[in-house]
Symmetry: C2
Subunit: 381 residues, 2 copies
């Protein structure tokens, strides 16, 4: 600091040199990850190994602290780098959970989720056949010898499609589906097929590049042992399997999907009917509100049919929306009457109900809001 | 690939070595940034220079593409690294926008936002004095010779506190406030003080470590020229200033703050009254729903009084909440009647209203959801 202060341009050039070395380091790491991927693919080791990831992060956090670098910074950077690695690892292919795999038929394999799953099975050494709407006249030949028949069609079509499969499946084939409502689909599969039956629900959109770290729900159907390899295969792709009762799953989905998507829909309708000045709102937005606007706009950029089905196929969702409507109206009365004390009391009740989770959510969302803030000025917006 | 496959442990050791070099690179960059900070502090260059940031990112994206590294990956990493730099730059102090600064008095300087602002003025070479609830008997001496008197108290207290300042301020002092409702505060300041008046609203919570990249709204009061240096000072701290009419600002805040916080409050009440199984919901959550739950829980981890004031002080917010309630009820009728076609039609209307912004929001939120996914398995949760 007692040296003559260097020129700003000179310092910036030195920073650029450091950043260029960072690019080179990433290229070097990518080559090593490609070798790991090849090794894992040959030896059938899952893409996502939580213990390895935790150990790696802990070691680098310690080193960072010793070097006076923020441990949270190095952890954030490594998590972002590893996300890239998980998608890259799949590029060289995945191990096949079976030594002698029979064909996999994806019913609805032309859809977004069907394509993703077909691609994953393909890259794991399976022969993948697609049965789409126009293929039913050749369904018998498509299904011949299939080891797994996976139904991936819109919710409303799931039960009719399953019924149509009756009598066409090899007796020992596994019949499975990936619909977001499980009770009806499972009942239809058990009625349509006497062999192994398995209900799955990947808790991610089809736009995800990889299943690494994604939750996949399993609801038992029939002959758990026969379909064990399917779960092994999902785990090789990096997914975590969560076992749930179909009724519990459907009830939770009513809350998680139907009501939230419905409320988001109404908020979009509200903004349109108010003819809100979007540009002004964005200019005046706090990071939180920008995020909420983005989550609303996001819905409307997607397929209306998908969301119509998710909402209207859920009877539980309707009942819950009615209860939410009544609670909203009651809270508006509290607002209108100026009952600040009543509001604060309910606020504290709910905080108590959340318990320590509220603080955890505050910490978690603060990290995300800071990340959202990093993107200010990103090109294209 | 024709070489004998190296051992997995060996490859992992090589990856660890690369990551350790990454830590060293970050330490090296931090030292350069500290020198830049010193230079900026001496020469009064703002912390956040958008053009420099854009040029740096563009150059590194190009290099990444040439090296076969994802340009989005390097951009994400650099944005995260630069966030750390912005906070670090303030540590060595900021340039003072005035050559001969008079004291700054923060009325409510014991609160969270008041402390943040007091700290920033302090680190910029200002003498900072605090006027808190118990200090009114010595108010005259605290305010003697002040160049800027900044009111940072709860919304409900803002107008009474401003009225109490009448007759105590030096005639040429700037009277300013940072409340989230501007019309009433500005009117009170103009009535209480004949000198320069300035309304400000930093669009960020007081938990932000730095004002870099944060939006600060300015509503003109009186004698714009006299308070120009205050805006310069905020810009030195990295903030962007947005000029807005006080009424437009308050109307937008009703929508941005009052209604959204109110709706989040009702959703929390709803979850509590349903006695939802939080643990099961988190286990079954998609990344989107986990984020929505986190944004809900986040509210309840914060100060009930602050949110009560934001909501109940907004008459526009109440009216908008009533309109939202009616739209929600109408949409529930559509849901109950099973009018899928009507739902799809409204969905498409709203998409059209959002226009290209919907797609931008989808892209933006997908990046954030991927970042949220990176954190699965983070310690402490």
């Amino acid at each position: 600091m007692s040296d003559p202060t260097p020129d700003l341009d000179d310092l910036r050039r030195q920073i650029d040199t450091v950043d260029t070395r960072l690019v080179a380091l990433l290229a070097e790491r990518r080559d090593l990850v490609a070798q790991v991927a090849q090794y894992k693919s040959i030896h059938g080791i899952p893409v996502y190994v939580p213990e390895r990831e935790a150990a790696l992060l802990a070691a680098r956090r310690t080193e960072a602290a010793q070097a006076g670098v923020s441990p949270d910074l190095i952890e954030d950077l490594l998590r972002r780098i590893m996300r890239e690695s998980y998608s890259a690892e799949g590029e060289t292919g995945y191990r096949c959970a079976l030594t002698d795999p029979r064909p996999v038929v994806i019913v609805g394999g032309g859809g977004a989720m069907g394509s993703l799953l077909g691609d994953l099975f393909n890259r794991s050494g399976f022969t993948v056949r697609i049965l789409e709407t126009g293929d039913w006249d050749r369904a018998e030949s498509i299904l011949t010898g299939a080891g797994l028949v996976l139904v991936s069609v819109p919710i409303a079509a799931t039960v009719p499609v399953i019924q149509r499969l009756q009598g066409l499946l090899p007796a020992d084939a596994i019949l499975a589906d990936v619909t977001s409502r499980k009770a009806d689909a499972l009942a239809a599969m058990l009625a349509a097929h006497a062999g192994p039956v398995l209900g799955l629900h990947p808790m991610c959109g089809p736009t995800t590049a990889t299943l690494a770290k994604q939750v996949v729900v399993r609801c038992l159907g029939r002959d758990e042992a026969a379909s064990g390899w399917v779960l092994d295969q999902f785990q090789i792709w990096g997914a975590s399997i969560v076992d749930t009762d179909a009724a519990v799953h459907d009830w939770a989905m009513a809350r998680i999907q139907a009501l939230r998507h419905f409320a988001t829909f109404v908020y979009g309708v509200h903004l349109q009917e108010e003819d809100a000045d979007l540009a002004a709102m964005l200019e005046l937005s706090s990071p939180i509100y920008r995020l909420e606007l983005a989550m609303t706009g996001r819905l409307f950029a997607q397929d209306p049919g998908l969301y119509t089905d998710i909402i209207f196929d859920s009877a539980e969702g309707l009942e819950e929306a009615e209860r939410f409507r009544d609670r909203f109206a009651a809270a508006v009365e509290m607002y209108r009457s100026g009952d600040r004390e009543g509001f604060r009391r309910r606020f504290r009740d709910v905080r108590e109900w959340f318990g320590p989770v509220a603080e955890e959510f505050l910490a978690e969302s603060s990290v995300l809001l800071a990340q959202a803030g990093d993107r200010v000025g990103r090109k294209g917006r």
